[in-house]
Symmetry: C2
Subunit: 117 residues, 2 copies
């Protein structure tokens, strides 16, 4: 099985630590491995492994600045993931609309009943 | 590490066969394992394994009808995944807007230059 880019992206996102790293980069901007390790009960090598997975999926880029290596959020691959998911929006929205209709009917029925007779 | 629902969903989507199964259920409705195996160069047990991963992530439900077991698309967990990704939309849109601005500038410059003098 060829590993396609979309699979790499979904796979990289399938971990709460990696999602937290992306959230941190989004909120506070570029960061070193040491800065990214701070909030987690994890070793720096463990965080480095997660960064490699994110980099491999194209979700971060890394650049050396002086003695540190800065991670930078690259959100574009998430767009393809979002586009893929958007194809299924009508399925969850349809069931949601049906629920809304059902609730509207239920809310109407007792009132009608009370006014009758 | 606790395996959260969102990680299960992203992990289930990180495979082209599983995504193709979901696309098939979306396009043609509920299907048996045999029907889902048809389009793939894969054994029925291999497809069954993929169905278990999808079921575990809440992306399909399975119901017995007569002698067959039908898989049914459950798109709702994709909504949470889409919501998570939506938080990052501004990052890919911002860079896209910047590119649009840059292109507009580039397209304007030669025209201005040609009209000058």
């Amino acid at each position: 099985m060829a590993v396609d880019q979309l699979s790499l992206v979904f796979s990289a996102l399938a971990d709460p630590t990696r999602r937290a790293i992306l959230a941190r980069l989004a909120a506070h901007g570029d960061a070193t491995v040491a800065e990214l390790t701070g909030p987690f009960a994890m070793s720096q090598p463990a965080i480095s492994k997660h960064l490699k997975v994110l980099e491999n999926a194209g979700l971060i880029s890394r650049a050396r600045r002086a003695t540190a290596r800065l991670s930078h959020l690259e959100a574009k691959p998430m767009r393809e993931a979002t586009d893929w998911l958007a194809e299924y929006r009508r399925f969850w929205e349809t069931s949601h609309e049906r629920l809304d209709e059902l609730l509207a009917e239920l809310q109407q029925s007792p009132t009608n009943g009370a006014n009758d007779g």
